[in-house]
Symmetry: C2
Subunit: 233 residues, 2 copies
C-alpha cells in the first residue's frame, strides 16, 4: 500500500472524528487505521499530510502522534518522523512474557466475585468466535479471540490492567499484520476456538487452576507459532 492510498483511507475515517478532544479523536482515528491494517507496519506518517487530510493543525497532529508513540503503536525516529511500529521477534517475546505473567494470574486470582459480568464476557467472546467462524469471517474470529483474552484479564477487575492489556493487544494486531494474508489469519486463529471453549468451560465449572494451566500452555504455543512464522520472513 502506498502512502497516498493509506492517507486516502484515513480520509474515510475522518467521518468518525467528532467526539471529545481533537487530539484524542485524531489519535483514535490513526490508531484504528493502524490496527485495522490499512497503514502497514513501517509505513511513514508525515505530519503535514495527516494535518491536511484530517483538517486539523500540525500541533494537534503532533499531540496525537506523541500519544500513539507512548502506546508503542508508532515509533518516532528523531528528526525523521513517526512510523507504524514494526514489532520484531524481541517484541513478540516481551509481549508474551507479559501475557504469560498476567493472563494466567488473572484467571487464578481474579476477584471473580466482585466481577461476575467479566465471566459473562468470557462466554460471550467464545460465542462471538463460533458465530464468526460459522460465517467464515476470519478477521471476525481474530477479533473475537482478542475479546476473549481481554475478558480473561477483566477477571482481575482492574482498570489499569485492562488498559495495559488493550495496548498489548494492539501490538499483537501489528504482529499479525506482518504475517498475513487472509488464509494465514484463518490458519492461525481457527484452532484456538476449541481451546477458548475449553478454558471458558473450566472457568464456569469453577476450576480456575486448570483453566490457568490450559491458558499458559495455549499462550506458549501461540508464541512459538508466531516466532516460527517470523523466522520464515
Amino acid at each position: 500500500m502506498t502512502v497516498d492510498s493509506a492517507l486516502a483511507s484515513l480520509a474515510d475515517a475522518r467521518a468518525l472524528v467528532a467526539r471529545t478532544s481533537t487530539a484524542e479523536r485524531v489519535a483514535d482515528a490513526v490508531r484504528n487505521e493502524v490496527v485495522e491494517g490499512r497503514l502497514r507496519p513501517g509505513g511513514r506518517l508525515p505530519e503535514v499530510a495527516l494535518a491536511e487530510t484530517l483538517r486539523v493543525s500540525r500541533n494537534t497532529v503532533r499531540e496525537a502522534l506523541s500519544q500513539l508513540v507512548a502506546e508503542r503503536v508508532l515509533v518516532r525516529e528523531p528528526n525523521r518522523g513517526v512510523f507504524v511500529a514494526v514489532p520484531g521477534p524481541a517484541d513478540v517475546r516481551d509481549v508474551y512474557r507479559v501475557r504469560l505473567l498476567i493472563e494466567p494470574a488473572a484467571v487464578r486470582d481474579g476477584e471473580l466475585a466482585a466481577e461476575p459480568s467479566a465471566l459473562v464476557r468470557v462466554r460471550d467472546a467464545v460465542l462471538e468466535g463460533r458465530e464468526a467462524a460459522a460465517r467464515e469471517d476470519w478477521p471476525g474470529v481474530a477479533g473475537a479471540n482478542q475479546h476473549f483474552h481481554r475478558a480473561l484479564v477483566g477477571l482481575a477487575g482492574s482498570e489499569r490492567l485492562d488498559q495495559q492489556m488493550g495496548l498489548l493487544l494492539a501490538e499483537m494486531r501489528l504482529v499479525f499484520h506482518r504475517m498475513t494474508g487472509p488464509t494465514a489469519v484463518r490458519a492461525f486463529h481457527e484452532p484456538y476456538l476449541d481451546r477458548n471453549d475449553r478454558i471458558a468451560e473450566l472457568l464456569m465449572a469453577g476450576d480456575r487452576e486448570a483453566a490457568a494451566t490450559q491458558l499458559t500452555e495455549y499462550l506458549a504455543t501461540a508464541e512459538r507459532q508466531i516466532l516460527a512464522a517470523y523466522a520464515t520472513l
Copy 2:
C-alpha cells in the same frame, strides 16, 4: 505550598533540562517535581506559567502535559486545566490489585536464568535501604523500597513490565504524599526493611515460592495500612 512557590521550585529544576526532545525534557522536569512532592496532589499547572518558567512555548508545554496525563501523574479537566492527580481509595485498590498480580508472579515465574543481574539489583536495594535507615534518611528508605519492588518485577525480564511498574510506583509516590509528614514516612517504610531482607534471602536461597507468598502477604498488609490511613483523612 502555594502555586507560586511550587513554580519557583520548578525554575530550579530547569537547570537539568538539556538532553533529548524539549517536550520530553519538560515532561521529565514536571514529573520530577510531582513525584518529589514539590507540587502537591490537586495542585494546578497553568500552561502559560509553566511555559514562562521553563522558557519554552506553550505548545511544547501542552505536549509534555499530555504525556504526563497519559501516565496518570496528572489529570486533565477539559477546558479547566491540568492538575496533579489526587489518587483516592479506589485508585489505591486498583494499583494494589495490579501489584498483587504482577509482583508475586514475577518472583515465581521470572526468567531468573536470563536475568542474573536482576537478582543483584534486589540485593542492592535491600542494602540501600539499610544504609539509608542507618543515616536516618527516611525518604531514602522509601526510595530504596521502590527500588526493591522495581527489582522484583525486573526478575520477569520484560521491558514492558518494567515500564508499567515505573508508572505504578510514580502513582504510589502520589499516594504517599497524601499521607505524610516525615514522621509518617518513617513509620510506614521502616517496618518493611526486615520484610524486604527476608524476601531477598528466600530468593537467593532459591525458594521462590516462599518468597512469592511472603510478598503477597507484604503487599496485602501495605494496602490495608494505606487504606486505613486514608480513612482518617
